[in-house]
Symmetry: D2
Subunit: 339 residues, 4 copies
């Protein structure tokens, strides 16, 4: 939709129409009270690229169609995608996926202890950081491949599928071999090269929303993975950056029902990174279940105060069973059982 | 806390100490690895006003104490305030306050019909706009005093206490006479003259968070009312302005547990204005109950499509009973019954 | 422009058309590749109020026309408004208005000293706070009417017109009597009652952009004043609230040329409140001149360290002459002389 | 600085002190009027990692020292870094670097024509996109290596050093061979793997601020490159994401003088991507010169309406000479000549 300024001349309007039709797009002129609008029908991507905003007499070009394609709910005729991971179902509205584990894998003992605690309390999968993207180059960056091996060992013991974050394309093969769900972190949501590599691995992908990404951009990022033929994408709301600094990020729980309207992909919530404060993780996790999320991903530690990273946001392992029961109760009210 | 630059000279440090002590504040010098910090003990408000950031050798002045006083949970020794309105209790953790009604009072018939529907479904109070703050001066601004009279009549019929928004100090007497809870809207949260007038009326006040107000500023605004001797202030999270335009505002549900930690005042949530879309109001209301809010305030209409304002966000009256039951179920999981 | 979902049925499309035409709006159906759009021609305000987003088959309602009217540049056929204040011209592209003075009027001596310093350096007007809107009710709130009297005395001595902020409608008469330009502060930009009162006073108004107001909302707020018959409105960009906390606010200098394209009203810039740091006020003031603003408003003090408010952002009076010459040089490059 | 809650017990305070001292950090207890603060002296990074916020009695942990190291102005004793590129100097306050060229390299003819136009008008370097990071996977992504070859040919003809954006680590060798300044785009500012790879190439790097990155995070990202031994980093402010959608991004010109205070690295400005509108590029470029930037980077095209990307923000090549003269005039007022 091209909107002309009130002073646009008939010749200027005609020039736009010609340009559109030369590009193979059908143009429909709609004279209004104050301004004339020109509907451009066909190839929306092409129209956006034409740069018509710069032409004489043009006030604005307003996109009418949604910018994402493969992730849109229309594409699946509103049937939700269900991602299967080691027998757990994510998406579909009947199961709630409880992913829990340490922020960072620090040792086999620490990882095993947390894994057992969360498995006993009904967790669906185990999370654990191997490669940590850190804002400062002088912070602890994770154990790397050693951490992946530890996670694999703990999976063998507990049966929990493992989720870990990939931070660079060259790690792809080892991740594809070892982990069950490959996480793309918020800071890499628009690292398009990485998205394409991950899209080719044939493994479920957990795609976190960027710190300041719109929901439409999140779905466009999902399109990067989906177009490589990998349909197993799980979206994750993890808090956005706003003006308020009371909490680390602002958890956008409205994103969950909005995404349910606009995409067929499952949507989970990460309340640990959003709030940065364990006292808020319980309430926000219950709210995530009540709002209709397909799951949550939370951090748990036996002794968060000695954790090498993000201690204050990690739940105490000894509180986890009660936490899980509370979340489960809210999930069951909206018809979901723990995956 | 005054932090000096790494190059600050001893004379510059001494100058700051002298200035603080001349103002009656005790100064404690803390030499660090790279920089020296000076703790200023006593009168934090005064230190903030001193403008030390501008002095030679000063890098930053970091406030250590919280900027709000009367609203702080320490002041009440963590005992929550309970606001009583016509027998309904707001706050305290045992009751959930369900406030519902039309966006705008348009006629006695319309208001009565909605009021009966929400009363039958268990609502605690009736909301209705009399004076509407509108972004454009050319939009419908409400029926004014006539609307207050209609609300009072409907209260007599249904027994529901009434909530309505005040938009200017000169309306205060009529509001104090007629309504049960006086709402201060988001756009007036920092209209300090209005806050002081409202604080003197001796009526419960519903104070909405500004579109871009931090939680600390919300509590400072509450301080304006509290210092007039009115302790009956109910806070309301109603969505903040962020970069994302998928929804009208971003509902900050994390604000609820954060406020529960930092203030003794009750906190409710307005999912209608936040989302601007009725399809999101149900999920967000359930989430508000799950996250521990003391209530919600929602808009309801018999025929939203002909409403004079904010149609798309209003719940259908015929859906309200099921909506109320769903919210109530989540509230009861956290130990609260409808007020 | 009403955009239907891809699944919208012909009956749903027809229902929208009927509703629009029943409201006296001409509807034009535009079938597209994926979705159908319906152009609504006539009464845009009315269409926005209809709440069509909530109807079956509707995806989104996209406003095509701009929401402000009286402030729009089309209304004045792109002729800029020039506001005359005591012989100084604000707007029109030939004069640059340099408004300077203390944050707060604290005493006749302090005010006089600053006024002389800025008058000698070529300032166009004197600013000074009488009623200060303060985030905390426990902060210094200004001398009130006494300050207005001090400003009037200093005007008599220096010949500088005076600018001061009004914070409540009941102060209007005294402001109209005493000050030359009535400032409406950022926190009151959407205090519509105050805007209407100020619009009736027949005095030039300096309208500051709200902390999180869009530029369209700023122009709609100007409409509130303009519709009362007062055409002398000066807009002021003073920094917006963003995620970054390095500076107090983010000065949006791009707003100046954007506003020049879309409104006929003059636009000035306040770099003092935006940055909160005098070291940034010089560069940002030069940039304001270079970007095409019609003026700036800055805070100046003889001894900012003892000022009762906002010390760190105030320029030293003894630096002001050089500051003024630097700003003037950039203004003259874009064809403007000091007003 | 660890701030305790008002109710913190002496035992809780003691526990924090012990934990700090066990970690080798000196702790200084500062009892205040309401709360006690504990200064932690030494290893700030370590203290941040300790997760003390989660411990009983702790209200907040406030960092006192700046989180970036190698980029800080103290490190260079406030001597600015000057990056030399093919005889042009970026940084140091005497030269203003004017980088211009097409958004995307589309053909040898198009690139050569623009390069000649900007070279004739005094440009310092040529920019041109080879690999374009696009939000949608269905948009044109650039000519890739072919574009690098075209740029190299045009450099041979015009003598202009070339700047192009790298989007993935595997492209590093070809970029190091061919381009003079390797640009890291906003979406990759926190792609730490890429930063480290680029840091090892021994070529000047142009690091753009992320869409929602704080200035401190920008300097921490620079630290990633600097710690690899590459000191030639040029920072670039290119607009941040805010609530306002009038322009594509909000150009944060205050960032320039703030960065000048806090880092020794040169700072340039990209007004084309920030505004997305060529009518704003001229004013914002002049403002960038006036505010003290070390240069600008702008997009230029002969016929922007047929450009494959970002047409509306590209300057017309025939307007460029006047544009360059205007910017140069403002730069010369602050003592800088075109590089």
């Amino acid at each position: 939709m091209v909107v002309m300024t009130p002073e646009a001349t008939p010749a200027q309007i005609e020039a736009i129409v010609e340009r559109l039709e030369a590009a193979g797009v059908h143009a429909k002129v709609m004279p209004g009270e104050l301004t004339t609008a020109i509907g451009a029908i066909g190839d929306p991507e092409g129209v956006r690229e034409m740069g018509l905003e710069g032409l004489p007499g043009v006030d604005q070009v307003i996109p009418i169609s949604r910018p994402y394609k493969l992730a849109s709910s229309e594409l699946s005729h509103h049937a939700p995608t269900v991602v299967e991971v080691g027998g757990r179902r994510v998406g579909g509205g009947e199961t709630f996926c409880l992913i829990a584990g340490p922020c960072t894998v620090e040792s086999p003992e620490q990882t095993r202890a947390v894994a057992r605690a969360v498995a006993d309390a009904g967790a669906s999968m185990l999370r654990g950081g191997a490669f940590k993207p850190r804002t400062s180059p002088f912070s602890f960056q994770g154990l790397g491949y050693e951490a992946l091996d530890i996670l694999a060992d703990v999976r063998a013991e507990t049966g929990l599928p493992i989720v870990s974050e990939i931070t660079a394309a060259e790690l792809a093969d080892r991740f594809a071999e070892t982990v069950d769900v490959i996480q793309v972190g918020a800071r890499n949501m628009q690292n398009y090269g990485l998205l394409e590599v991950v899209g080719k691995l044939g493994k479920p992908v957990l795609l976190k929303r960027g710190l300041s990404s719109t929901l439409e951009e999140l779905l466009q990022a999902a399109d990067y993975i989906l177009k490589e033929g990998n349909g197993d994408v799980i979206l994750c709301e993890r808090g956005i950056r706003t003006f308020d600094t009371a909490m680390r990020f602002t958890l956008d729980l409205g994103a969950v029902p909005w995404l349910k309207l606009h995409t067929h992909l499952p949507v989970i919530v990460d309340p640990s990174h959003a709030s940065g404060d364990r006292r808020l993780v319980g309430p926000l996790s219950r709210a995530a279940a009540a709002v209709g999320a397909d799951g949550i991903i939370v951090e748990v530690a036996e002794d968060p105060e000695v954790a090498l990273c993000d201690g204050p946001q990690q739940l105490y392992a000894h509180d986890f069973p009660q936490f899980a029961r509370d979340v489960e109760a809210h999930a069951s009210l909206v018809g979901m059982a723990l995956a």
